[in-house]
């Protein structure tokens, strides 16, 4: 039981923190459902170097005991590690083109995920998580994360007043959120849910991204801005605390008892272009 943090949103969605749930009860509810959970991650250009550590840590911590399909979207499928995975888990390469700028690559993710769901993953998985590849699992990520539509609270803004959220503030953008509005600032590195919901969500985000492109504008934080706009009008059914989307460069406050998934410290300049 946690009394130091908010554990339910005003629309009655649970916020998942260590201490709010019993992993055994959840496992006993979810294991019998024979689920397959999908993970999408983009490893384009130099980002292929992150795949090994991502996968190794996922094998140790991500939904242990469940069937998992890792869909790695990459421009060089041959560079993917061939290390064997635990039983019931598969690695599938999804070829994608390499766009000219990292922003473009980033913004095209929604479209790629959406297309892949329609063509492939809707038949293979019931739940899908879309994660950044340049991150590592440090602690268990279990069925407490499963829900219809799941978003994660950005580690930089979880205890900061709404006025400071870096929403897109230009009204000409389709990702615009006016001052005084907004529930949380969600991170683009982690989102997911039922595969049908992820399909709808990625489609809508892709549409708003295209609308901006047609107007010659790019949102402040690329698809993260569009994700935040979408989750304001279509509230997630479950939120993950920053334990599930941590930034190792930040000092750990007492509210964060456990870091489950966090960024790999890297040289941004070197990796992006």
């Amino acid at each position: 039981r946690r009394q130091d943090v908010l554990t339910v949103t005003p629309w009655l969605a649970p916020i998942v923190w260590e201490g709010t749930f019993d992993p055994e009860i959840l496992d006993s509810a979810y294991r019998p459902l024979n689920l397959t959970i999908g993970v999408t991650a983009f490893a384009v250009g130099k980002y292929t170097r992150f795949v090994r550590r991502f996968l190794e840590s996922a094998e140790r911590h991500f939904l242990r005991g469940y069937r998992v399909n890792y869909y790695i979207f990459t421009d060089s499928p041959r560079s993917l590690p061939r290390a064997p995975l635990r039983p019931g888990r598969r690695l599938l390469a999804v070829p994608v083109p390499r766009y000219s700028s990292w922003q473009e690559i980033s913004m095209r993710r929604m479209e790629a995920i959406n297309r892949h769901v329609a063509q492939v993953s809707h038949r293979e998985v019931q739940y899908l998580f879309c994660l950044d590849i340049d991150m590592v699992f440090h602690n268990p990520w279990g069925p407490e994360t499963l829900g219809d539509m799941v978003a994660a609270i950005h580690p930089g803004y979880f205890d900061v007043p709404r006025e400071q959220f870096p929403y897109e503030r230009r009204s000409s953008s389709a990702a615009y959120i006016p001052e005084g509005e907004g529930d949380f600032y969600y991170g683009g590195a982690v989102f997911g849910g039922r595969v049908e919901k992820v399909y709808e969500f990625t489609k809508t985000c892709h549409m708003t991204i295209l609308a901006d492109k047609a107007n010659g504008i790019m949102a402040a934080w690329q698809e993260e801005s569009h994700l935040n706009r979408h989750f304001l009008s279509h509230k997630p059914s479950k939120l993950l605390s920053p334990e599930y989307i941590w930034d190792d460069r930040k000092p750990k406050p007492p509210e964060i008892r456990l870091v489950r998934f966090s960024t790999l410290d890297k040289n941004y300049k070197e990796v992006r272009n």
């Binding site: 005003p10 629309w11 009655l12 969605a13 407490e144």
Partner: protein, 249 residues
Amino acid sequence: RQDVLVLTPWLAPIVWEGTFSRDILNAQYLQKNLVTGVVTFAVQKYWFFIEGFMRSANKYFLAGHQVNFYLFTDNPEKISHLQMAPENHLFVIPVQNDSRWQDIFTSRMDIISSYIHSQFQHEVDYLYSMDIDVQLLAHIGVEIIDALVATISSWQVTPQHGNRAYEARPGSQAATPEGQGDFHYTASFYGGSVAEVYKLTRACSEGLMEDRENGLEAWWHHESHLNRYLLQHRPTRLLSPEYYWDTEL
């Protein structure tokens, strides 16, 4: 709310006043055009409660949303004209009077499941069963809408030598999970999606009939079966004892 438990160990929210914004929830539900049904029984002398229940429910239950009230009664002629809100409808369904107490509860689960199968599933998205001997004193809104919803009992159950003894517990204490992280739920107010309520009432009805064949019956058994079902199929949302406070306390 920091004084009460607002989340179960399986991450189902526990609805207490102060934990939610009805405005946000209403906005979400208006997008969806949902119809909710309420099933209630008024047999034998309970016809007396019909007017009070219907008047308060019509005013306070999911106000502003479409509600179908399904009133099962053996005294349809005793129902005076009831003025319903424009979004609401009242359907009076005559039933036979069961002379035995035990049968009243067993047949209720059975009646609900068969009517879901034959009728309600085509008419409503969500369905709630409520005892008729209550009056709503304040708004009960869309915060109750979820797949499988149960209300925490304001009574504590202490099994003693096969006879159940009920002890009263104040509201916030009642919402403490017992042992395994589970709660005691009241059979007086539960519901959810039609699919889930169908499964629940089927299971309980079958369990009760099996009990009867084995000569095991007691009036509280329908509540035990409900609780056993909810132990194995955990509710997706719990309502605090605020939602059904037994005035005998």
